[in-house]
């Protein structure tokens, strides 16, 4: 149901005053709209909308998906006024550091006010993807009842709801194709929500409940899987046993993405071979995850299924290096790998040897790094080994216990195409362990060599020199994360003045103060947001910023017991919606 514009008149200010060429664009608006409707990239669409008024109008009528990176940057009223035909919305709420408990609870980012407006303006809404938003059971029920065509719900890192809310969705959304519940702070009361799917429900394509802990009714799950012939993604939770998983795989051999349950189970030889056979019959399997409580005995079951794997998520699997090595021999097409550092450098050497097509590597710490000495973790050796073997590597997230400037320099020479380089040396302010020097040259090498770099996270002992390098060379940088680094305001000033494409800057525990904050205050209008916590900015500095830039929202999170002059946590973002109307008492809008 496409709502047409009411006035398709040509632009009267056309440069051709000749009456025979009254149309400002060479083809009718309907054609323009049709052409533009084929555009999917939001960056392209944003560019298109800036060409002229006709194109702006054509674009806004043809847009069906909208992405809002900061829910407070715009209001639902403004959104629905500009884009009348939206079917799919992605909304992100809290600042990213809320993942690490740096944002107090009840900060905001509630989805409900959005849903109220969408219920009237986007009656045919089909998809809602939320990240770091607060969602209540009431909101989920409202969602389930207000949108007859609703198909896809994805909740990532959200909070405020319980499994009762999920039950509303599964009960009422007759056309549901996707239910993706990931890493949320959810009140997991029971698995009954799964049993609320109606009889003969057939449309599900994506089901992810891996992070929910309550038991679901297995018969209900089995019935669901056997009826939903289009099911592509199934990620079960750890209460699903290996035997149950085998039964599900037999029912759905067409699955593309599988998340296993708990793998801690003694298998009889018959069960072992049945499971192996079930996995090898999944010819479309590209993505595997889960692997909680994996044992060595289980892994060979997977080998036949690994031939076409492109993404292997082992971030819950405590594997040793030989176990990983034996598994990777069977994964020649692997493009993305997430592992724990229990595999150590040797495990990463196996990655370098076996995965020539690897593009993305994430290595997470297996144990609390400041407690155990038992797990060695990974060092520069592992990272180097991967860089020698995986020339296509462009995305890395690496938690390690030590690093050297020389290693990083070699790594980026081997892999100059990095777009995302996130290095976390886990002891704050740790120098190059061989030379004792700061890690400035490492990140200097990264920004000089990797011209396509869009995202960077720095760590280790860093002086202002690192930030001079970033400002001078990182011309495509969009996101920068900094912690325990820098020597003075100059560092932050270099970044603000030097990185033209900077959109998100998040800083914690650095010696940057008011001078840095105020050095390029106009910059913040070209960015999505700035976060500074544990730095040296004061309330007065923040007030000055708010005064100079009235179109920015300058918010300080105030917590009790701290010096009134210090602005402990500062969050600055551009907005066309004005200051928040729903700010809790501890958020001061200046």
């Amino acid at each position: 149901m496409n709502l047409k514009r009411k006035n398709p008149n040509p632009d009267p200010s056309s440069p051709d005053s000749d009456e025979s060429t009254q149309l400002s664009s060479p083809f009718p608006d309907e054609v323009l709209e049709r052409v533009l409707s084929l555009l999917n990239s939001r960056k392209d669409r944003n560019s298109v909308s800036l060409v002229c008024k006709d194109w702006y109008d054509a674009e806004r009528w043809s847009r069906t998906h909208v992405f809002i990176g900061n829910c407070y940057s715009v209001s639902p009223e403004i959104l629905t006024r500009r884009f009348p035909n939206i079917r799919s919305v992605t909304l992100k709420g809290k600042p990213r550091f809320s993942d690490f408990d740096l944002v107090p609870p009840k900060w905001g980012a509630c989805v409900h006010s959005w849903l109220l407006v969408f219920a009237t303006k986007y009656h045919f809404l089909e998809a809602l993807r939320l990240k770091r938003m607060t969602v209540s059971d009431e909101s989920l029920k409202f969602l389930a009842l207000s949108f007859p065509n609703f198909k896809a719900l994805s909740l990532l890192s959200c909070d405020g709801f319980s499994t009762d809310g999920l039950a509303s969705i599964t009960t009422h959304c007759k056309n549901l194709t996707e239910l993706d519940i990931q890493e949320n702070d959810i009140d997991d009361k029971s698995g009954k929500w799964l049993s609320c799917f109606p009889e003969n429900f057939m449309s599900l394509e994506v089901l992810n409940f891996a992070n929910l802990n309550s038991d679901v009714n297995f018969e209900a799950l089995e019935r669901l899987v056997s009826w939903c012939k289009s099911l592509k993604v199934l990620k079960v939770n750890e209460n699903i046993t290996l035997e149950q998983l085998q039964r599900l795989l037999v029912l759905a051999p067409h699955l593309r993405e599988v998340g296993t349950g708990s793998l801690l189970q003694e298998l009889t030889p018959r069960q072992h071979s049945e499971l192996k056979s079930a996995f090898s019959n999944c010819k479309n399997l590209n993505i595997l995850s889960g692997f909680t409580e994996v044992t060595s005995i289980f892994l060979p079951v997977l080998y036949p299924a690994c031939t076409n794997l492109t993404f292997l998520n082992l971030s819950y699997a405590v594997l040793q290096s030989d176990e990983l090595s034996n598994l990777l021999i069977h994964c020649p097409l692997l493009q993305r790998l997430w592992v724990l550092d229990s595999v150590e450098d040797e495990g990463l050497e196996a990655v370098g040897s076996n995965c020539p097509l690897l593009e993305e590597l994430r290595v997470f710490p297996a144990s609390d790094p400041h407690e155990d000495e038992i797990v060695h973790g990974v060092t520069e050796i592992g990272f180097l080994a991967v860089s020698y073997g995986c020339k296509k590597l462009h995305y890395v997230l690496y938690f390690c216990r030590r690093m050297t400037n020389a290693a990083v320099t070699t790594i980026v020479q081997n892999c100059p195409d990095f777009t995302h380089f996130r290095l976390c040396i886990m002891n704050p302010r740790q120098p190059d362990y061989q030379t004792g020097e700061p890690m400035d040259e490492a990140f200097g090498a990264v920004v000089k060599t990797c011209t396509k770099l869009r995202r960077l996270a720095v760590s280790g002992l860093l002086t202002d020199l690192t930030f001079e390098y970033i400002g001078k060379y990182a011309k495509n940088l969009e996101t920068l994360s900094v912690a325990f680094a820098g020597s003075s305001d100059w560092g932050m000033e270099c970044v603000l003045k030097g990185c033209p494409k900077l959109r998100k800057l998040e800083i914690r525990d650095c010696p940057f103060g008011n001078a840095a904050l105020l050095s390029s205050f106009r910059k913040y209008e070209s960015m999505r947001s700035l976060w500074m916590s544990g730095c040296k900015v004061t309330m007065n500095g923040c007030r000055l910023l708010a005064q100079e830039m009235p179109r920015l929202n300058v918010e300080v999170i105030k917590e009790c017991g701290n010096d009134d002059c210090q602005a402990d946590k500062l969050y600055v973002y551009r907005s066309v919606a004005g200051p928040r109307k729903d700010a809790p008492p501890f958020v001061l809008t200046l």
Binding site: F100, D101, L102, E183, Y316, L340, R429, R508, G534
Partner: protein
Amino acid sequence: MGIKSEQHSSASSIDSSSDPSAAGASSSSTDLRLGLSISSSYYNDLFPTPTTTTRVQPLSWPPIRSILRSAHLDKALDHKQASLFIKIYMEGIPIGRKLNLFAQDGYDSLIATIAHMFPTTVLCPGADRVHSDKYHVLTYEDKEGDWMMVGDVPWEMFLNNVKRLKITRADSFDRAMAFLKLINGGPLPLGTNS
């Protein structure tokens, strides 16, 4: 709750827990307690710790989502019954090794394995120590943080309690034990007749 940046001591010094706001961080595992009040610096001269000591970590660090963290993985680590890897150091050698205790059958097997890993002859307690500067003894830190002589308790109990191993020179060990006896007078937490 303001997050205060931690001041970190240099690599080889001993950290005793400093900032009370680092409530989540464990106290330094280099703290050697015998249940007697002996200054840890004395003991650390005898038992040199590796260069990367545990440091008091700031809150909300490292930046990893709590859902990926310990709760899940501790359970997984517990279930890794195939191995019990512990660190073993030898006095005078800064880099330690890792040893899988589940792969050993008992104390004899343990001593033999260690003899392959380190350049020494490890003595069992009570043996003659004529040239005690050339010989070493094997001790372990138990769950309570006490250092005990290896071989005192049944093997299974040892496996349950051991946190890490240390090979120390017999004569420095003797000196340490003598000192403790002197200041304490009472029985040592070791079942030896040294």
